[in-house]
Symmetry: C2
Subunit: 695 residues, 2 copies
């Protein structure tokens, strides 16, 4: 093992300690070490060495968490001010309907057109949630400039404007925030790499990406557990426990900082959950109710499929329709303004908005839907008033209408928000789609819960006491199940508990989420996968379960055997011909044209460069070969991993998925015989899943 030790010497020949090589700010640290008295190096150094043995970048994760929490909180703060100004304007503008209508609609129209125009003018990457693109990146694809820090400003400003429109436009924060977090992490990584001279490896990038995604979710909801799990479920198909711990650490820092700021700003007495509930602990639900919870899960699953189907097709319609596509191509702000006008008009409180609680913000929607009293029972004998302003103590008054009753408003809310959300998702601007889905799910659950509380007014009899049915529990299960079904995740159940601070409904909510996922995962691609397909981003289809592992399909059957190799004994003219006639990024380098023994990989760019720097004047008689160029300094890469023709499809798929590979060469007895990339894998898998119709 002498070689291993020898390798640790710096390139200058002088032995360098690892600490010096890999720690940040080596000069300052060396200075500090020089100042440290000689007497106490033992104990402290030992402890430091043990604690930071892995020399991991914990400080980096802390910085990321704290930074994102600050940004999240600052954004919320600014948005809160804008919303308050809007409310003030709407209140002070008087009783004239025209003025009130204008004051209600002008705000969102202006904000949305600005959001869309501003963000799109800076970068087209800032639109949408960003999660689909991140998912693609985590599987190993490089999307150029997608994590560029210049997108950051566009996304922050655009997202703030979008969120400032409140429940009128009804969009969320999670997706773009995850994107922001990943951007910051990539930026910090680059800064550090420059300072330390550390070159970022690919594995490192992926690690950072996954930790940053967890931070993104955690700093929005102050929910570290579900932040980590949700980001894992949405983004990856495999993950390491090590990354999961890093994610927890960063997410906890972020969530703590986020809630700490709320306490410092006197919004909260202490650190608590965002949407605290007060469900009964003793008998939160009766055993037969489990049946309704599971039924709610199935309902949510079916509705999620309807939603995903409509959403995808409406998006396609907007893109292909003559008028809308033209409008979107020429003037995105006008399209945004138009949509905002429609949405704001519908939610105008003295108008249709009266029937869909449109005076409540999105947070108030959730707060009220998770209420543990049954509104239907409370309004049977007494009609609550419709106050001039939403009453913070009795937010649910907004959901009541004397003629419509609770059921009417909830159903109307669902129907309207359903198409309004689909319409809102077509606007090209930074916006998240998780929160609206979560609220719609809560409304579905609430509707069922209220119906049950009316159907069984006698409630639950247990231990001699009578407890009424709590529709809030159904709202919780509905929110988790619907959002879980749309995103194909289970951790939304955990999110529901972390948001509310209670976990008394653990089993029913989890069962509802599982039921919803059974339906939606089998019938529709998830919201993010659907977007990946719609945006034509590269992706590797998932082999569900393992039945494909049972097929005797091997690499031989589907590899691209039409391989262009470069042999070392190839004359330069031929090399030039090959390079100009093909368009791949790297070529397999073989020993001789005859043997075809794979010895390395040549990057196309390097080769072109080397060819261009060749002296133009070589004697025509003196033929030159590729190996001369290689000897002249054109770098080649070693082949670190190679497939055999006998490798099975299942193995190859696992390999690509686990190691986030893009392409591999296939060798048989050392000869390069083919290559496998995502394209071939995809084709092979789709042929297995949907075999061509037999004739």
């Amino acid at each position: 093992m002498e070689e291993l030790v020898g390798l640790r010497e710096g390139s200058s020949g002088k032995p360098v300690t690892l600490q010096e090589l890999w720690g940040p700010c080596p000069r300052i640290r060396r200075g500090i070490r020089a100042v440290t008295p000689v007497s106490c190096p033992g104990g402290l150094e030992w402890l430091k060495e043990r604690l930071f043995r892995a020399r991991e970048d914990w400080y980096f994760l802390v910085a990321l968490g704290v930074l994102m929490a600050l940004i999240s909180y600052a954004m919320n703060f600014a948005i809160g001010r804008v919303v308050r100004a809007h409310k003030w304007l709407y209140r002070e503008v008087g009783d004239g309907h025209l003025l009130r209508y204008l004051s209600w609609t002008v705000y969102p129209v202006a904000l949305l057109s600005f959001s869309s125009g501003f963000s799109q003018s800076i970068t087209p990457f800032s639109g949408g949630s960003g999660l689909p693109e991140l998912k693609t990146m985590l599987s190993g694809v490089v999307l150029e400039n997608y994590l560029d820090i210049k997108n950051f400003g566009a996304k922050v400003v655009g997202l703030s404007c979008t969120l400032a429109t409140g429940s009128t436009i009804f969009l969320g924060k999670v997706g773009p925030f995850v994107h922001l977090s990943v951007m910051i992490s990539a930026y910090l990584g680059r800064v550090r790499a420059k300072a330390v001279g550390d070159t970022e490896s690919k594995a490192k990038e992926v690690e950072m990406l996954s930790a940053a995604a967890a931070v993104g979710v955690a700093t929005v909801f102050a929910a570290p557990f579900s932040g980590v799990l949700f980001s894992i479920e949405v983004m990856s198909s495999h993950f390491s426990v090590w990354n999961y711990w890093r994610g927890f650490f960063a997410a906890t820092c972020g969530a703590f900082m986020f809630r700490l700021l709320a306490v410092f700003n006197s919004e909260q007495e202490t650190i608590t959950s965002i949407y605290k509930t007060r469900f009964r602990v003793d008998v939160p639900f009766d055993l037969p109710e489990i049946f309704f919870f599971v039924a709610l899960g199935f309902i949510c699953g079916i509705l999620s499929c309807v939603y995903l189907f409509c959403q995808r097709n409406f998006l396609r319609f907007i893109k292909t329709n003559r008028y809308t596509s033209k409008l979107l191509a020429t003037s995105k702000p006008s399209y945004a303004a138009l949509v905002a006008l429609v949405l704001a008009s519908v939610t105008y409180p003295p108008g249709v908005g009266r029937f869909m609680a449109s005076r409540l913000s999105m947070a108030e929607h959730l707060h009220s839907l998770f209420d543990n009293n049954s509104w239907a029972l409370m309004t049977r004998n007494a009609s609550p008033p419709w106050p001039a302003e939403p009453d913070p103590q009795n937010l649910w008054f907004e959901w009541y209408h004397p003629q419509f009753t609770i059921f009417g408003t909830l159903a109307f809310f669902l129907i309207m928000k359903f198409w309004m959300l689909i319409l809102a998702t077509t606007i090209p601007m930074p916006a998240g789609y998780f929160m609206p889905i979560f609220i719609i799910g809560a409304a579905i659950g609430r509707l069922l819960g209220e119906a049950l509380s009316v159907a069984f007014p006698e409630g639950i009899v247990a231990g001699g006491e009578v407890y009424p049915i709590m529709p809030g529990g159904y709202a919780l299960a509905g929110a988790a199940a619907f959002s879980g079904a749309v995103t194909h995740t289970i951790s939304t159940a955990l999110l529901a508990f972390e948001l509310t601070g209670q976990i008394v409904h653990a089993l029913p909510v989890l069962m509802a989420v599982l039921a919803a996922n059974v339906i939606s995962q089998n019938l529709q691609p998830s919201f993010y996968d659907g977007t990946i397909m719609a945006k034509k981003l590269p992706y590797l289809p998932w082999i569900r379960g393992r039945q494909i592992g049972s097929y005797p399909v091997t690499v031989e059957h589907f590899m691209n055997s039409n391989l262009t190799t470069l042999a070392k004994d190839m004359p330069l003219e031929e090399v030039v011909k090959v390079v100009t006639s093909t368009d791949v990024s790297q070529y397999p380098l073989v020993e001789t044209r005859e043997s075809q023994t794979l010895v390395g990989i040549v990057e196309r760019t390097h080769l072109v460069q080397a060819l261009q720097t060749q002296p133009a004047s070589w004697a025509p008689g003196q033929e030159r070969f590729l190996q001369d160029i290689l000897a002249g300094g054109c770098p080649t890469q070693p082949v670190t991993l190679q497939l055999s023709p006998e490798t099975s499809l299942y193995q190859a798929h696992r390999l690509f998925e686990l190691l986030t590979l893009q392409a591999l060469f296939v060798t048989s007895r050392g000869r390069a015989v083919g290559s496998v990339s995502w394209v071939e894998l995809k084709k092979a898998i789709s042929t297995l899943i949907n075999p061509p119709a037999p004739k």
Copy 2:
């Protein structure tokens, strides 16, 4: 892609549909299909096809969950009866100290010696928790007979006896239960494989193993979330989201069934958490308390290191000491009886047990420690009585002693249980070590919480109201942090919430667990890793973080280049010589002795068989070669994956870890040049982590 379609034909040449091939009970199903009326095949079949598209074994997971829940509940029920009988005996035996002492001690002594003797006589595998062995199996090692169903009875009976000793011996259920669950799953898998003719693939086994582990934890604690996460953290270093979903599904079924049985048996009004708490929701803790929570985490981390260190060394001492090792080798039951006598004598309630709440069961310990009132404040002015029987409404009276006070008993409990637990873990019998760790952690937290409530009697002032400090919250954090530190997991935090049904302490508990893990992960191997090392089970060291990825160490530097290859043109005598002189399980097969081109792998057993069946009478002049044997029917395997000498250590490690490999051959330009197995990887990693001292 014509080949792919062609491959789907059965070996008989007749095309077989996939449904027929891979569904269970093909004959019955074909019968049913024949009966189905022709009119309605469309819709239903389509739905079935969509829902069961992956043809996954959901029914298998349901069966596993339900079965394990039944076993878990039945076990609890039986144990409950035995414990009640013991209590009755102890109560009815009168006031004579000798009789009382005998009735207190005879029970555990008899139970433990039976448990140890019975289980060890059937199989030596039934001892301990079983988690370390399962961890090894999940990483790809095959432990013969470890999952044999004949171990099942030994483990169930032994574990029941161990648990029936209650808090006297102070051992838990989780580890062995996970082992039981995995055994059942392996058995069900074999039964199914026999019924269907499906051959179990390795990937399938690993999938089942991880789902079963989750079920094991979930059916003990009725906690599906933490069941899945805990089993993942303890068992694997990588996992797929697909397995995680399957785990959730099975764990939910198990947990639901487990709680359902409790409701049916009228133990519970409805499905709720096992150790319900009633913490304040509004102001559960004040912001500055976060500091104490983190400090508690560090304390738990340090104590966990002390515990792990003592435990490992005491185990070694017991094994090497002349007297104990002799006793353990000759008569395990006597050793168990001896230890049980010591432990039972110490906990005798009228004796020393009075100062350590020994009349409470383990569940009652937890219930009382999570109490949200401050005992120290409540006993300042009034002394609670010491009732003849523990009062179910005021379990905490047991923790109070007029002279010792609360602090004395808690500290005494900790000190005594610390060495008692270490002593109990040396008994060779089925027992879990998680629950005692969890309770000790809760006591540590409670001690700090009580101290704080005395130190700050004015409590928390918020919104004009005064709230006292809740020591129960510290107990929760302590339990999660200490158990997390000992097992190197974070999901114990989630377990604490699922057990109590409240998640108001989310951030402080998580921070305590993280702090504890920072200490323990850096200073000591986890309880399970330590056992793996002590039992000398094979394991692959974990590359912590990624700094090793930065070293330019490649396979070339550490591979075993002393490779024995078999060439096709080798004379048989030489082959025999090679086979008799080496002892590896498989040989690389190369084309010719000169070229050394790797073409396949020959299993040693196959080769030996083929050599033995060779006709003895060959003419001496007519030399025979290996290729003749191969042509004669000795099977060879294709090489599906091969390393290059240029593959980095980091890549090779990832590959081994992700694909659960045991060994790979290294080829350079097609030539077999070496092999890499766990042994080489382990050596290379340990050289990097602890470089040899420079001279």
